[in-house]
């Protein structure tokens, strides 16, 4: 789609805002609707849009598949690591209340970390799925 100038310019304009919106959904998830799943999909869609408009090779340069695959795993590790942190702090697995001296602040911190892990994994999996399907040469 290299010769579609309108598409290219509009998407260049849009992609930063898509990412910004993803971050909003991600970090405002504690107070309103939103969270890691939704934010991850929106964030991933920014990369997918880029890949569709500018071509797969460029998308792969921006988000190298080897790193993206590792991010899928890293997100799960962040999630599980937060769970373990609760365990080591003397609570049960995934008990965020003990992460800080104030249980409410602990809950905030815990959910933030967990949602960050979820967001990372979801965004990275969406990009990986796109790469895998689009990368087939037939």
């Amino acid at each position: 789609m290299r010769h579609h100038r309108v598409l290219r310019i509009i998407s260049k304009l849009l992609i930063p805002f898509i990412m910004l919106f993803a971050l909003y959904v991600q970090f405002h998830g504690d107070f309103g609707p939103g969270g890691g799943f939704q934010a991850g999909v929106i964030f991933g869609s920014a990369f997918i849009l880029y890949g569709l408009i500018f071509g797969l090779e460029y998308a792969r340069m921006v988000a190298p598949p080897a790193i993206v695959t590792r991010l899928v795993a890293a997100g799960v590790l962040i999630f599980a690591g937060t769970g373990y942190a609760g365990l080591f702090a003397g609570g049960n697995f995934l008990d965020y209340g003990v992460l800080k001296s104030d249980p409410v602040a602990g809950q905030h911190l815990g959910i933030l970390l967990v949602e960050f892990g979820v967001g990372t994994t979801v965004a990275a999996s969406m990009i990986t799925i796109f790469f895998l399907f689009a990368g087939r040469d037939r």
Partner: protein, 119 residues
């Protein structure tokens, strides 16, 4: 009688979608269409859950001092999980279809059976 049907329209929609999806899975030979059917089938269950969480007169479950009645958010959370599972199933199913197409050259069930020969 008619009123009883109309009062539960959400269940009727869920049942209708469920049957459409299930029929598609069973009756269609094309593997992609089977996955589409499976998706419709799963979506009907999502609707069943989500509509069950509605509380009459309740608003979206976001704490605010202006409201006292909220819809039940738990079915929504459950279904968020189920949707993710559904996405994973679809992605895996389509990935399998791609690879089946690459190694057999077809995604029609009857042709696949012929190519597989003795089963």
């Amino acid at each position: 009688m008619l009123q009883a049907v109309l009062d539960h329209y959400n269940y009727w929609i869920a049942i209708l979608l469920m049957m459409i999806g299930f029929y598609t899975v069973v009756a269609r030979g094309n593997l992609v269409k089977k996955i589409v059917g499976l998706n419709i089938f799963q979506t009907s269950v999502f609707l069943l859950y989500i509509s069950m969480g509605k509380v009459t007169g309740g608003t979206a479950p976001i704490l605010d001092e202006r409201f006292s009645v909220y819809s039940n958010p738990i079915p929504h959370v459950l279904i968020l999980t189920a949707i993710v599972v559904g996405v994973a199933t679809t992605a895996l199913g389509l990935a399998l279809v791609v690879r089946i197409r690459e190694s057999y050259g077809t995604i029609e069930e009857d042709e696949l059976d012929l190519l597989d020969g003795e089963t």
